[in-house]
Amino acid sequence: MWESVADFVVQGIVLGGLYALIAVGISLIFGVLDVINVAHGEFFAVGGYLVFASVVLMHLGPALGIAAATAGTFVLGLAVYPLLLAPLRRRLGRRPSGSLYLVLTLGLSTFMQNGLLALAGGEYLQIPPHVRGILDLPFTSVSYQRLLVLAIAAVLLGGLFAFLKLHRYGLAVRAVAQDPDAAQSVGIVLGRVFGLTLALGVALAGASGALMAPLFNVYPAVGFPLTVKAFAITIVGGMGNLVGALIAALVLGVVESLAVMVIPSQWQNAIAFAAMIGVLLVRPQGLLGRAVAR
């Protein structure tokens, strides 16, 4: 009994780390641009395909594969603001409403899924573990692959928080989240910060897609359910609140994993979304309220 509890807790923390990478990205983008990025999970899928191309097709090794997936989705992300969001804003002559952005990123999501289907086909691609072997712990054992996911998630999120706290452009990202007009008055160019924020957010998704590829399979729609779940996490943590998203992601990962012990697994998603709806009914601002990386 206790062995399996420990087992599920470890699995849950890894799952939580994955949710955190995706939810923190969504929350960051929302906090700075006020855009709900429906296409977020598609960057997870692109990360998976990039790691497949690097590791399976080009035999480059997992480290390069993960780096290529992260860098590739970052570069794709850099293009999203200037090519998609900025023109909408320019043509309209004012800030587009949230619903317009929602439809636009939903369109991007469908376009990317279809593009992947056309380019790579619909098969479920398998990727060998980035690292092999199993670590034996007193109560349980955990594969090095899962530990790798957790370690890299921690490094990436730690890096993001350090960037936001210390780097000149990280401070600019937080400044724009707090007050775009004031940010302009100190010489911050909003378009650049919007582009950078989107790229950072989706690169986290790309990195997690690359990390999780050996545990999931890679196929065009692999990321979409994760987007929806990350929305739930983001709302529970408070939209735009990165620490809230991180905590909510870890809690949900562990709770979901443990719930399987007592509740049939087909209820897993129902429980996650019931929790989200419950939080919205009681505390619409989320458990921790809105605040980008104070």
Partner: protein, 236 residues
């Protein structure tokens, strides 16, 4: 001439607020901009600083045409802008707010130097550097906002109603700071509702009404004009 604005037109959407206003600020001057609510004072400052695009007219600063430039480019030419409410980042520390004032300075060493200089000049801010800007008193927030705008060592500062919503005891402090800045060689263009304060401090005053020039001259001349007093200074 430091700043020359000629026949400026600007506004929001279908609403044209500035309808041909002309303003001049000579180097080292304090220039007041007064007029009733909706006269276009804020709109004028926002257009000069590049928040709004001029629809017609000219804005020249030290020989550079400013029309079509972004705020970051205008800052780089030596002009900074203080929003009505200070425009601070309330959830960031005093130190982070000041650091962001030097955002356009590419060299970390120059940012460091500018920061040290301001901490020496405003010891209060050094004491409070780890505090969130939002936790400072109203008066302290104004000082932080002014200090942040000094990070780029401007030659001209645009101030939008620097004493709005401020307790009377802080209004004198703000004007002491304005005069001190001016004595250190900075020109200031100050949009102001508090007419008595700006008449006492300014070298030259422009009165705007309905987006156009209604009057301009030395403060003493403004006080003498019965019509101006009745219309804009609230005298019966």
């Amino acid at each position: 001439m430091s700043l020359a604005i000629e026949a400026l037109h600007a506004g929001y959407g279908d609403l044209e607020i500035l309808q041909g206003a002309s303003i001049r600020v000579a180097p080292g001057q304090i220039v007041g901009l007064i007029g009733p609510n909706g006269a276009g004072k804020s709109t004028l400052l926002k257009t000069v600083f590049g928040y709004l695009r001029a629809r017609a007219g000219r804005v020249e600063f030290d020989g550079h045409n400013l029309v079509g430039r972004r705020p970051d480019q205008i800052l780089g030419l030596g002009m900074s802008y203080l929003a009505q409410t200070g425009g601070l980042f309330p959830d960031m520390t005093v130190h982070e707010n000041l650091g962001l004032g030097g955002f356009i300075l590419e060299s970390a060493r120059r940012r460091r130097e500018a920061l040290d200089e301001l901490y020496a000049r405003f010891p209060l801010l050094h004491e409070r550097r780890r505090q969130l800007a939002g936790s400072l008193s109203g008066g302290e927030q104004r000082i932080l906002a002014v200090a942040r705008a000094l990070m780029v060592r401007p030659r001209l500062m645009l101030l939008d109603e620097p004493t709005a919503a401020l307790a009377p005891r802080f209004i004198d402090r703000v004007y002491e700071t304005i005069v001190a800045l001016n004595q250190s060689g900075i020109a200031l263009l100050v949009a102001e509702q508090n007419v008595e304060m700006i008449l006492a401090a300014a070298h030259h005053v422009f009165v705007l009404d309905l987006g156009q020039n209604a009057f301009d001259g030395a403060p003493a001349k403004l006080r003498e004009s019965a019509q101006i007093r009745r219309l804009y200074l609230g005298d019966a």
